[in-house]
């Protein structure tokens, strides 16, 4: 009974395409799904290619294990919720985004029904805190889990993910934010091959290929890039021309930016041991021109795609 209820909720609703603008700066926050995307770059590549007529930059701030409460970001302040959230919000605002992609809910869902209201409050709080950016917000629902050796039966958990997705839908509706409903698309949309059975087993098949049942493999990212475009309402060709040069440039940019915003040895460079190595912190800022240069390379390739 529950299953059908969740499925009913999960029907993708007609929504106008998300409108990207020339000069958009997207900041992408979320958990492992977002963090790993920067290493593979398929989603970002597809996004840029589908909008090749506009200059768009993406800054990926995904962090494994993260939640709407920014639990993964506190470092030495891990036990101070305000400090955790501040880390995430300040960093996002510093990047002056015009668009913020927010992809949470997977990790929160382990708290089950009891955690739903905490999740909703956390999401509201995060959105309130991000208001000063005055950016267009896109809320993503999580991807469902799939059957794997590590997760022989994802059914129960997918019900939970369905409930958390519903919270995200509600918040998106209330706040008039754009909803990028990955969960609905994967469980009952075009990419769910067999609807009923698929919800039991999660999003199997190549589109959302996963080794452990919860994270996409590189192939999973590559194959589901189309899904990302669909949930954002981007028009795109079925097959892109060779985007490897663009993807490589994006990965290069992401790596440099990663060294900029999440450098190693933070304790010594910026943390409580900065009196020892703080003099080397200036090096970290030296990544900025390198990121800009990598961005120029992306720009160059984009212009070749435009035609």
């Amino acid at each position: 009974m529950f299953l059908s209820a969740v499925l009913a909720l999960a029907q993708p609703t007609a929504q106008k395409p998300f409108e990207f603008k020339d000069g958009d700066r997207i900041v992408w926050i979320g958990n492992t799904l977002v963090e790993r995307e920067q290493r593979y770059g398929y989603w970002e590549t597809a996004l840029l290619a589908a909008n090749a007529d506009k200059k768009i930059t993406v800054r990926n701030l995904g962090w494994s294990g993260d939640t709407v409460h920014a639990e993964a970001r506190g470092r030495f302040d891990f036990d101070k919720p305000d400090m955790c959230l501040k880390q995430l919000v300040n960093l996002t605002l510093e990047l002056k985004p015009t668009v913020i992609f927010i992809a949470y809910g997977t990790n929160e869902s382990f708290e089950g029904k009891d955690g739903l209201s905490k999740f909703e409050k956390g999401l509201e709080k995060l959105l309130d805190a991000l208001k000063p950016a005055d950016a267009r917000i896109v809320l993503f629902t999580p991807l469902p889990f799939s059957k794997s050796a590590s997760l022989p039966d994802p059914k129960e958990h997918n019900l939970r993910l369905g409930r958390y997705s519903e919270v995200i839908r509600k918040v998106a509706k209330d706040r008039k934010h754009y909803l990028a409903d990955l969960f609905a698309e994967a469980t009952s949309g075009t990419y769910a091959r067999i609807t009923g059975k698929l919800t039991d087993e999660g999003a199997t098949g190549d589109t959302f290929q996963s080794d452990n049942g919860i994270h996409l493999t590189w192939r999973g990212y590559a194959n589901s890039a189309k899904v990302l475009l669909d949930v954002l309402g981007c028009t795109h060709p079925d097959v892109f021309i060779d985007l490897e040069p663009l993807r490589k440039a994006i990965i290069e940019k992401n790596e440099l930016f990663f060294h900029r915003w999440r450098p190693q040895n933070e304790t010594y460079l910026f943390g409580f041991r900065k009196h020892e190595q703080g003099k080397n912190a200036k090096e970290v800022a030296e990544f900025d021109p390198l990121v800009s240069k990598a961005e120029e390379e992306i720009e160059k390739i984009r212009k070749t795609l435009k035609k």
Binding site: N31, T32, E35, R36, R39, W63, S64, G65, D66, E71, A72, G74, R75, F76, F78, D79, T106, N107, F110, F145, S148, A149, S150, L151, P154, D211, N212, G213, I214, H215, T217, E255, H259, R262, P263, Q264, N265, E266, T267, Y268, G271, F272, R273, H275, E276, Q277, K279, N280, E283, V284, E286, F287, L290
Partner: protein
């Protein structure tokens, strides 16, 4: 050859290379390095591989083919902007079996500081910064071109803390560690795993199962399993030697809900270690089997420890080094047994080891070298390299009988990778054919098969027909004659039964039976594995351990298990459904472990029942203090005032009441008459006086006013009375104290101002300033200054009050300045005001680089022996904060091997500018509480709403987190200017002494178990009166009334007699000295003391006299034993040196207690 260019430049352009003072960049010729090795007798060392075959090895592991995989990093410690991360995993191979690598393959590159590598599953598991990845090559023998991210979200806050120490456990799970500063958040299909501190992870890649095996540690760079699967752990920053890894246990610096109690290592006071391996196999002599090898990378030594059973845990003793060297770049950091039975050592080869204290870009950092050394036993045959990869399954199963742990483990890995489908049917056949019960073989063969079966997913993956064989195997392990096999089988069977969701009572009862019936180690494993059963019965089962004698680790294990099981047993207990069989001892243990307010009622009932053994009663009262309300505290005070309670117990109880009132703000009991009956002497009396103020007991205020002003009052009584009065905090108290602040008698005035500081800071600052103008330069001046400075805004208020002041004595200004520095508060204005008031020369300035250089040059000509005496001077306070060989204060880092790791320029700067570079784990915190008091200290732990700091006085202070207004980083806890009173020569001598610590020579770490930390009786009037009332030998009695002061041996182990206080009790009697030290006896039995000379000595063990001999055999009971020496100074001039040693075949496990 590209790699050689930088070093060539250094040679050609020494001025560039030696830009930093006293750089030591040695000649990199490996043979020159090898020649510096002093090798254990009967062994030799050859070079297996060196640069350019490899550079900067961080970790190494062999694969089943006998190839050596190495994770290496040239980028460490920090990537430079514009630099491409290109660190490598390389494979070294000795194809012609001549003991030297002749082939190198770069398996992977493009990595960022890979700190761990473990080959397996067709490639290698690699630590790649925030990720754990699996790399493999699509074409065998080629470079890796496939990367699978297995786990992500590991912290990188410090690149020598990121995930490291990869190894396959005997269960074929991947164990790896993270260090103290790392915060990791890992998503798995079974939930997000978070670890916000150091710890050991355990990972099953087949099912993406990740859990924390042990919590804590600072730099856990060593983890090895013995042949029974017991874990041993070393730490590169925590000087406690070898640690026994108990599943789920908390170790120093752990985070989590149960940090209030932790486990410690076996060898406190040893240097820090990196890497760990267990000696196993026929190439090594019999008396080396099972010994542990680790590396003192600071001291350029490869060390060996021998383990002995010690109840549920182990005792470890250091043996002669495998290698020691004085080569400044020899940095042994990993150690592994190899396929040929030899021992392999990775040498990171670097004159600079740290990256916190020394600049990331220091040119002395070596980026290009690295060596693998190979240690072999002379005249003993090597082991023939087993052929595993192409072997048949029965051949591989047979290899699980090999005497070499290397072969067994690698054969198991090959079998694991062949998969359940192929291997399990053969394993079943093997078991059914009883090949595992063949009497010629060790029972450990059954254990290896059992591990293999579990690793292959048994019993779930077994065909039905194979279940019986698996059960036979399980029963064989659980029923083995060898208790160590049984013990580890309990761990794995327990996990198997209980974790599979079978929560029935039967398996719990089965495991529970081991808690009572087994050997100590079986009981330990059973108690710990029961914590995983989410069932109230598991608590009852675990408590059965108390039916037999406990030891410390077992007690800890049970405590942890009871806490972890609390959510299951507490509700049942409160509902009256669970009674622990009405056993008062068990109930007391359970309540004590949990110690929350839920347990108040049952605890009172238990105490009132009269069933509790007398020796447990005191502990229960202490527990009641921690959790009880006003009436329970009254009950505790009644107990404290009762007859038959010893003075030490009385002090402990009343201090505990005071502490709990401060921390939990428990209000006063109605009736407080009991307090006056505590006003006798000792700490209890003072605490009870303070309670009057804390509780604002109006009806006793008069007593405090009397205590503050009475002529007969001692300074201590006066101070405590005033402190307590100030706690009333009302106008009446304020007026009363203010009047005393202007009292003509300084002994009244001073404590009054101190107390007044908490009521009116500005007023107190004014009084203090006026007082200092005419004060004598007495030590008490420092207390007064500290009272004002140690408050929020205190330094500013004081500076203001001092404007225009002029002190009669410049020394008063000096004492005050010292107190200001010791406060760790930012107080430049105050320092200037005091300097002006004392008409002192301008304040000290930090030395310029040139000055540091000149001082370093002086060090070369200085004398370490003179330096040691300077180090020991009381006024320098070195010993009060730093230990050597574990003896000394615990506030600052242990100095045992500081000279072998720190460069002289670093030492000079650390003495003059203590805040410039602070050792890991010694960063001070400045906390302002809601009473405006400022506390400075090093964080010990923070949990359950309480912050515990270690203050510069080496005291632990507990502060409720909700009382904290501000918290922030403080400067180094070591005050500036400690060495200002030294002459240039003295300073050079002191640094010289420090530079020698840990190096080969007279100041090397000593393996002997020497008594280094003593206590001595000073000839104070109180002590002499106590002697006169009783007799000198009363000093040996427990609970004696003497005040003892610390004394420490020289690094050599000798305690200089001439420096010890002596006294004559009566006129014309011989002068005497009384000394004592403590031994920790974990298993009772005979032990030996080696005493350098017995002239003039009387020896007492406890209160019992024992005849001292050069080799004195003692029969020691378990527990902490105090040994007292009374020295007739007329009969002795030699220094005192006492060494603890084993008596052959004695079961005793004894260690010398160090510390402050």
């Amino acid at each position: 050859m590209r790699q050689f260019i930088p070093i060539l430049l250094l040679v050609l352009l020494p001025s560039a290379a030696f830009g930093q003072a006293k750089a030591i960049v040695p000649d990199p010729d490996p043979e020159l390095e090898r020649k510096t090795f002093v090798v254990a007798p009967g062994f030799e060392v050859n070079l297996y591989a060196a640069d350019p075959l490899l550079a900067k090895p961080i970790q190494m592991n062999f694969d089943p083919q006998g190839r050596l995989w190495i994770a290496s990093s040239e980028i460490y410690p920090q990537i430079k902007p514009g630099e491409k991360a290109n660190d490598k995993i390389i494979i070294l191979e000795d194809t012609d079996n001549d003991g030297k690598a002749d082939k190198t393959t770069v398996f992977a590159d493009g990595l960022l500081i890979p700190t761990g590598v473990e080959p397996g599953d067709g490639g290698a598991y690699v630590a790649n910064s925030t990720e754990l990845v699996h790399l493999s090559a699509s074409k065998p023998g080629q470079k890796a071109d496939r990367k699978k991210i297995l786990l992500s979200g590991f912290g990188t806050e410090d690149t020598h803390h990121i995930i490291h120490t990869f190894r396959w456990g005997p269960d074929c799970r991947l164990y790896f560690n993270q260090s103290i500063y790392i915060h990791s958040h890992i998503e798995t299909p079974h939930g997000v795993k978070r670890l916000n501190a150091g710890g050991i992870w355990r990972f099953n890649p087949d099912r993406t199962e990740l859990d924390v095996f042990c919590r804590g540690f600072i730099n856990t760079w060593g983890h090895a399993f013995d042949k029974y699967g017991q874990s041993f752990i070393t730490d590169g920053a925590n000087g406690e030697g070898i640690n026994h890894g108990v599943p789920g246990a908390y170790y120093p610096t752990a985070q989590g809900p149960h940090v209030s109690r932790i486990l410690h290592g076996m060898n406190p006071g040893t240097p820090k270690f990196c890497g760990l391996e267990v000696v196993s196999g026929r190439h090594f002599p019999d008396d080396w089997q099972g010994d542990l090898i680790t590396n003192d990378f600071r001291g350029h030594r490869v060390c060996r420890f021998k383990l002995q059973d010690d109840g549920s845990t182990f005792a470890g003793r250091e043996m002669t080094e495998v290698i020691k060297s004085n080569h400044p770049a020899f940095r042994p950091i990993d150690v592994k047994m190899g396929p040929d039975g030899a021992l392999y050592i990775a040498d990171w080869y670097n004159p600079i080891i740290q990256h916190g204290e020394v600049d990331f870009r220091d040119p002395r950092r070596d980026k290009t070298h690295g060596r693998i050394w190979r240690v072999t036993a002379k005249g003993r045959d090597l082991v023939k390299k087993p052929k595993l990869v192409d072997a048949t399954i029965p051949e591989l199963l047979d290899h699980l009988k090999a005497p070499e742990q290397w072969t067994r483990q690698q054969a198991k890995r090959v079998l694991k990778e062949r998969g359940a489908e192929k291997v399990l049917p053969e394993l079943v056949k093997w078991v059914e054919a009883k090949k595992w019960m063949d009497g010629a073989h060790d029972e450990r063969h059954a254990l290896e098969l059992f591990w293999l079966a579990l690793a292959l997913g048994a019993p779930d993956t077994l065909p039905k027909a194979g279940l019986n064989a698996f059960h036979q195997l399980t029963a064989g392990c659980l029923g083995a004659k060898d208790a160590n096999v049984r013990a580890i089988a309990i761990r794995y069977v327990g996990e198997g039964f209980i974790l599979k969701g079978d929560r029935a009572k039967a398996p719990i009862a089965m495991i529970g039976s081991y808690c009572r019936e087994g050997t100590s180690r079986e009981r330990l494993e059973a108690v710990r594995v029961l914590a995983q059963a989410a069932h109230p019965e598991a608590a009852t089962a675990a408590l059965a351990a108390l039916d037999k004698p406990m030891d410390r680790v077992l007690d800890y294990a049970l405590w942890l298990t009871m806490r972890e099981l609390e959510p299951y047993w507490m509700p049942e207990f409160k509902a009256g459904k669970l009674t622990f069989g009405g056993d008062a001892k068990k109930l007391a243990f359970a309540l004590n472990a949990v110690g929350n307010k839920d347990t108040v009622k049952p605890l009172v009932a238990l105490i009132d029942s009269g069933k509790v053994p007398k020796e447990n009663l005191h502990g229960l009262y202490l527990l009641l203090t921690q959790i009880g309300g006003p009436e329970e505290l009254h009950k505790v005070l009644e107990r404290a005032a009762a007859k038959g309670v010893s003075p030490a117990e009385r002090d402990a109880l009343v201090l505990a009441v005071e502490q709990t009132v401060r921390l939990r703000k428990v209000s006063r009991p109605k009736d407080l008459d009991i307090i006056t009956s505590l006003w006798s002497e000792g700490a209890a009396a003072h605490a009870s006086v303070r309670l009057i103020g804390l509780w604002k007991v109006e009806e006793l205020r008069f007593a405090l006013e009397a205590g503050a002003t009475a002529k007969a009052a001692t300074p201590a009584v006066r101070a405590t009375s005033l402190e307590s009065l100030a706690l009333f905090g009302d106008a009446k108290a304020k007026e009363f104290i203010m009047n005393l602040c202007a009292d003509p008698k300084p002994e009244v005035q001073r404590p009054a101002i101190i107390a007044y500081a908490s009521l009116d800071l500005g007023g107190a600052a004014n009084f203090a300033a006026r007082y200092l103008e005419h004060a004598k330069p007495e030590p008490e001046v420092a207390d007064l200054v500290a009272a004002v400075v140690g408050r929020k805004g205190g330094p500013a208020a004081f500076a203001k009050a001092l404007k225009g002041s002029r002190f009669d004595s410049p020394d008063v200004a000096r004492i005050a300045l010292r107190a200001v520095r010791a406060s760790g508060q930012p107080a430049d204005d105050l320092a200037a005001a005091l300097t002006a008031a004392g008409d002192l020369a301008a304040a000290r300035k930090p030395p310029t680089p040139d000055e540091v250089k000149a001082m370093v040059a002086d060090v070369a000509k200085a004398d370490a022996a003179r330096g040691e005496l300077i180090y020991r001077r009381k006024e320098l306070q070195c010993l009060a904060c730093h230990a050597i060989g574990g003896a000394g204060g615990q506030v600052g880092p242990d100095m045992t091997s500081i000279g072998a790791s720190a460069q002289p320029d670093y030492l000079v700067e650390s003495l003059l500018i203590p805040n410039k570079a602070v050792k890991e784990g010694y960063h001070a915190m400045r906390v302002v509480t809601n009473d405006d008091r400022v506390t400075l200290g090093i964080k010990v732990r923070e949990a359950n709403g309480l912050l515990v700091l270690r203050t510069p006085e080496d005291k632990e202070v507990t502060i409720p987190v909700k009382d904290i207004l501000e918290r922030g980083e403080a400067k180094s806890i070591m005050p500036e200017g400690m060495t200002d009173t030294l002459t240039k020569q003295e300073f050079a001598d002191l640094v010289r002494f420090l530079t020698e610590l840990g190096k080969i020579g007279p100041y090397a770490p000593n393996k002997a178990r020497l008594v280094r930390r003593w206590e001595v009786i000073e000839p104070s009037n109180a002590n002499l009166n106590a002697f006169r009332r009783t007799r000198v030998s009363a000093a040996a009695e427990a609970d004696n009334a003497f005040a003892w002061s610390p004394a420490y041996s020289l690094v050599s182990g000798d305690l200089p007699l001439a420096s010890l206080p002596k006294f004559s009790v009566w006129a014309n009697t011989a002068e005497q000295t009384v000394l004592r030290f403590n031994l920790d006896v974990t298993t009772a039995g005979a032990a030996k003391l080696k005493i350098n000379s017995v002239a003039g000595l009387s020896l007492y063990v406890g209160a019992n006299p024992v005849e001292p001999k050069a080799e004195t055999i003692l029969d020691l009971k378990a527990g902490v034993q105090t040994l007292t020496l009374i020295i007739d100074r007329s009969k002795r001039t030699e220094d005192v040196r006492v060494e603890l040693d084993d008596v052959p075949n004695s079961p005793a496990r004894v260690s010398v207690i160090g510390g402050k």
